[in-house]
């Protein structure tokens, strides 16, 4: 009770025992908070999927969010893809030339690009651009009571605010990744063929021979998970934003950091799963070299 919160005098003299007890209490509280946080985002994700499946969002909210997520992200994703392709060419060229295998540069650049670097780096860029902006926007709405206003008008905030963003990330992040892959292929090609003077025929021939549909599709497949994670984490951080400008800033930062870590974890787990699936389809193993 308010007036009875002071510790009884007899217990104040316990010294080290009390300090240990306090430490255990704090650790326990942190663990409980962490578990509550996980439960919170699990419930948040569950309701997002339920609302997505049970009630179609309005066209107006979908279009504006798709524009924000998709169209406005095009330049940064295209730039990221192009530079990944060129940097891969720069990094790999010397080693491959020493082995006399520079004509196979296309296979290496394009394989690394479509399977790993394109999806992961595009998702990382989008976690920064889209995820943080979602957290900041929804966090501001939370702080200025706009989310409460929605709920008070009988409009479910998850359906109105989260579902269009989730759908946008789910649909557009794979498409943006395809765009990043394509720009990477173009960047790598031009750098290798025009600046490093690698024979155009062999560059394209080895690229086509070694990079298959499975490689491209597995890269894009992963981005559905990355997209879902970026949207859910960004929106969840925004919805649970602490008060004030500092709270909004922290929500935006946490959205990026948590999304990035989740992308890396998902990437590892999905690669393990996809590798198993690949060996199931082609038991003879990898085909490069």
């Amino acid at each position: 009770m308010a007036s009875g919160s002071s510790m009884p005098a007899a217990r104040q003299g316990w010294g080290p025992m009390r300090a240990v007890g306090q430490w255990v209490g704090e650790v326990g509280q942190r663990i409980v908070d962490w578990i509550c946080g996980l439960g919170g985002i699990a419930l948040f994700s569950f309701w997002t999927v339920v609302w997505l499946l049970t009630r179609r969002p309005r066209r107006g909210t979908i279009l504006s969010n798709f524009y924000q997520i998709g169209v406005l992200s095009l330049p940064v994703v295209a730039l990221t893809g192009t530079f990944i392709g060129m940097v891969l060419a720069v990094q790999s060229y010397n080693q491959f030339r020493m082995l006399g295998l520079e004509t196979r540069l296309g296979a290496v650049i394009n394989m690394a690009l479509v399977r790993e670097l394109g999806p992961v780096l595009a998702a990382t860029m989008l976690a920064g651009r889209v995820g943080s902006s979602m957290a900041a926007e929804l966090g501001t709405m939370r702080v200025t009571e706009q989310i409460d206003a929605l709920a008070s008008m009988g409009v479910n905030p998850i359906h109105y605010l989260v579902v269009p963003r989730f759908l946008g990330c789910l649909v557009l992040i794979p498409m943006l990744t395809i765009m990043a892959d394509f720009m990477g292929l173009v960047g790598g090609y031009f750098y290798s063929v025009l600046l490093l003077d690698i024979d155009r025929y062999y560059y394209l021939e080895y690229s086509a021979r070694f990079v298959g549909w499975f490689d491209m599709l597995s890269g894009v497949f992963k981005t559905f998970f990355f997209g879902a994670a970026i949207a859910l984490i960004g929106c969840h951080r925004g919805f649970n934003c602490d008060p004030g400008a500092e709270g909004v800033g922290r929500a935006a930062t946490a959205a990026f950091v948590h999304s990035f870590v989740t992308i890396l974890l998902l990437d590892l787990m999905l690669n393990i799963g996809l590798e198993g699936f690949y060996r199931l389809l082609w038991p003879e193993g990898p085909r490069i070299f």
């Binding site: 308010a2 007036s3 919160s5 709405m141 409460d148 206003a149 009988g154």
Partner: protein, 277 residues
């Protein structure tokens, strides 16, 4: 503590009733055993100093915050027992005017007022436009503001737009959270007048959370005063006054008369910040 009496209404006649409400955030209890009832058509003012839980109480009444213990009954239904869809239907019968107006930044003023109509009715665009113009006129705003963004408006205009939006669906209950806070005395009086006019035009039940006693005296039939739990003993009731606004200054409880007269007395130094229950 039940404060439904005073004006003779029974619990059966009450449109909105709080029954033994407790609200806590983490370990901190903000509301303790709050009970009151508001009869249909009545205006209740909830007053008290900052941090006493007035806004939390208002949000609990509309189901934005779930009570830890106790229940809110609206038209005989316990709001905590309703599912999402039923609760949304009940919320359409409420209008909520937020302290910061809580207008949607991404929408224009017209779209803000039209928002509840677009979400919950099948009215044509022309009809919605007509209602928007009429609601804005009711709060003294011309059609010129329809295309403006909330950021382009003054504080008083934003509160008016918030009121117009809250009245868009002609709700049965309107909840006002600090409607006059941050406004100059004239604009505060304008808002108080608008609250009275809204009540005359539509037969609404209102709950006004405020620490502006002038506004409370002007609009309220009845007042309850909350006291912060941090300064209360374990067994003391949190509602320290329930009665007509005009009797506050002569109340026997010094906490009430001190608040009514706006006197600092022993409060120059803040004490008792040790937390809730």
């Amino acid at each position: 503590m039940d404060v439904s009496g005073g004006h003779g209404e029974s619990k059966e006649e009450a449109l909105l009733r709080a029954d033994g409400l407790w609200v806590r955030f983490g370990r901190q209890v903000v509301l303790r055993d709050i009970s009151f009832a508001v009869a249909r058509g009545q205006t209740l003012a909830v007053i008290g100093e900052s941090g006493c839980g007035k806004t939390v109480l208002l949000k609990t009444l509309v189901g934005l915050i779930n009570p830890w213990r106790g229940a809110v009954y609206f038209d005989g239904k316990n709001l905590s027992s309703l599912d999402e869809k039923q609760l949304a239907l009940q919320r359409m019968r409420f209008g909520f005017v937020f302290q910061s107006a809580a207008l949607f930044d991404s929408l224009t003023v017209g779209q803000n007022v039209a928002f509840p109509l677009e979400q919950h009715t099948r009215k044509s665009d022309e009809e919605i436009q007509r209602i928007v113009v009429s609601r804005l006129a009711e709060v003294g705003l011309s059609e010129d503001v329809i295309l403006k963004r909330p950021a382009e408006l003054s504080g008083g205009m934003r509160k008016r737009v918030g009121l117009a939006r809250a009245l868009a669906l002609e709700p049965e209950v309107v909840l006002y959270d600090e409607p006059t806070t941050g406004l100059d005395p004239i604009m505060s009086d304008v808002i108080a007048e608008l609250i009275l006019r809204a009540r005359q035009r539509h037969p609404v039940t209102s709950i006004v959370v405020t620490h502006d006693l002038r506004a409370a005296r002007k609009v309220a039939d009845r007042v309850i005063m909350l006291y912060p739990l941090t300064r209360l003993g374990a067994d003391e009731p949190q509602i320290v006054y329930a009665g007509p606004p005009e009797a506050m200054e002569s109340a026997a409880d010094p906490r009430v008369s001190q608040f009514a007269r706006g006197e600092a007395r022993d409060r120059l130094v803040e004490t008792g910040l040790s937390g809730g229950v």
